[in-house]
Symmetry: C2
Subunit: 307 residues, 2 copies
């Protein structure tokens, strides 16, 4: 799957992942009205609205980008109907040829981490049969519990040829509270980065490992150091756009082969029609076209930065 991701990034020329993090306030009124008419102002109605919203965006951008990253929390808040919309979104994106990174940030120990890995990447055995649960291609993993939490994901990845992105340095302002604390002369995130590099060694694709890392665009200097510590890890870079990360901040996250990083934008793309830059040209009715325009602009911004 990491080879497929690399190939798709080369083909599209866009090291971009679209964050499908739908909040109801991003969903245009006409979509909400239709969904609420059918299902009422219910969890089912909200779930239908966000799925239809996603579908429009996916149809509009699927030829431009290699991957999408649905953030499961945005679905989980609507309970079971919301999680059904998550599952439908994953399936629809795969139908459209997109690689799906489930942003689930799970992490537990032993058999519990195994259960998460099974549910999101692998197959669960029931009697004589086996089934995929959510069946994403990659998921994000929280490393706080150490190798016991990460290894079960790696085991499932080996079997399924799928991958993970381990949280190393997150894009948020308070990420430094624990991640930046100095241990043996180096910040915690460097220690985690080193472990990512080690975990990744046993799970290599052609040029990159199936074990990637999450490093926020908002911390480009740290990105530079982490790039060196984890040369074979694909870096998933959140924080571009709405969180303040700019194209020029991104250079440090890439390797000299022009690969090695994939940049996420969520709000900046899926709610582009609400942004000043696109509001007048595209109304809510054409929200998906606004998303397409935002992807094209982002692609250009990154291409310019990478020279």
């Amino acid at each position: 799957m990491i080879n497929q991701l690399t190939a798709k990034i080369r083909k599209t020329g866009a090291p971009i992942v679209v964050g499908l993090d739908p909040m109801l306030k991003f969903v245009p009124e006409h979509i909400k009205e239709k969904a609420f008419k059918e299902f009422g102002e219910t969890l089912e109605g909200a779930a239908e609205a966000i799925f239809q919203f996603n579908k429009g965006i996916v149809d509009a951008v699927c030829d431009l980008v290699p991957a999408v990253k649905p953030q499961i929390a945005m679905y989980e808040q609507f309970g079971i109907p919301g999680l059904s919309a998550f599952a439908k979104t994953v399936a629809y994106c795969k139908e459209k040829g997109l690689i799906v990174i489930g942003d689930i940030k799970r992490g537990d120990i032993g058999s519990t981490s195994s259960a998460y890995a099974t549910g999101h990447l692998g197959k669960v055995t029931i009697g004589s049969k086996s089934y995929y649960g959510f069946d994403e291609d990659f998921v994000t993993v929280n490393p706080y519990l150490g190798s016991d939490g990460v290894k079960p994901f790696i085991d499932v990845c080996k079997e399924e040829k799928k991958g993970i992105f381990v949280l190393v340095k997150t894009s948020n302002p308070s990420s430094g509270e624990f991640q930046d604390r100095i241990i043996d002369g180096k910040p915690l995130y460097e220690h985690v980065g080193k472990m990512v590099n080690e975990w990744g060694r046993e799970l290599m694709g052609d040029a990159y490992s199936y074990v990637g890392a999450v490093v926020g665009a908002t911390y480009p200097e740290m990105g530079k150091i982490l790039r060196d510590i984890m040369p074979k890890a694909y870096i998933l870079v959140p924080g571009y756009g709405a969180q303040g990360g700019k194209g020029r901040d991104l250079v440090h996250f890439f390797n000299k082969d022009g690969l090695g990083a994939i940049v996420n934008s969520s709000r900046g793309i899926i709610a582009a029609y609400q942004n000043d830059a696109y509001k007048d040209k595209f109304g809510p009715e054409n929200y998906a076209d606004a998303s397409r325009a935002a992807v094209i602009d982002m692609k250009e911004d990154i291409a310019q930065a990478l020279g």
Copy 2:
């Protein structure tokens, strides 16, 4: 809710939480057969089997213990039907008067953490209406992303009078890889413990805070130190029983009032009928009675240890 938890612990005399972490291998054949007959060897069949299994245990122990802790990963591995069984389990336990600690170990940033908090503890707004998603009473939270990840949970807890348990020192063997690393002369888990104490100050119940901590029974010496650092935090203690923690290890986790800690046992209770100690007396048909016996023995073990 923390006041209710304390009152229930006093009333039952059992600082015990039953971990409802059903794996199919724990579920007696007669329950699986019945579920598979109705739904086939499908995700729905597995979900029905684990829900019926839970129901039996809950009926057998609900007068003995204050709380249960369903581990969502064990349900999530069965996809949407599994998560429906989780939701049904939460609702059933609450019907039976039990406090429900959702062991979800979620943690993200800003609006994403808010979405998790909303989905598991709070109400989501849809148009003019609002709905609970999973509606647990407490959830476990991963602190790796710092205050940005924890504060949104605290905001929802304030509104709903619910609580969280923040992972501080987990019970697994590799928890030390990051949690034990020395920062400014103290291990990371102590720094996290200090933050728990701070976060908890703004959310106090009568004697204890709504912000609790997870500290593994397998690390009693660390428990002692953390007990002092977080005097007002309820400590959720996993790792008793199957993971090796013993009654005598638990004293350090409690305060002088005999409160302040609640000890989890999962496999040791829910799969008691498979353990040598109960196998002969109770067969698979009487698995729930074996669970009841295991709870009574655990209660005694803890009472002896606490003197």
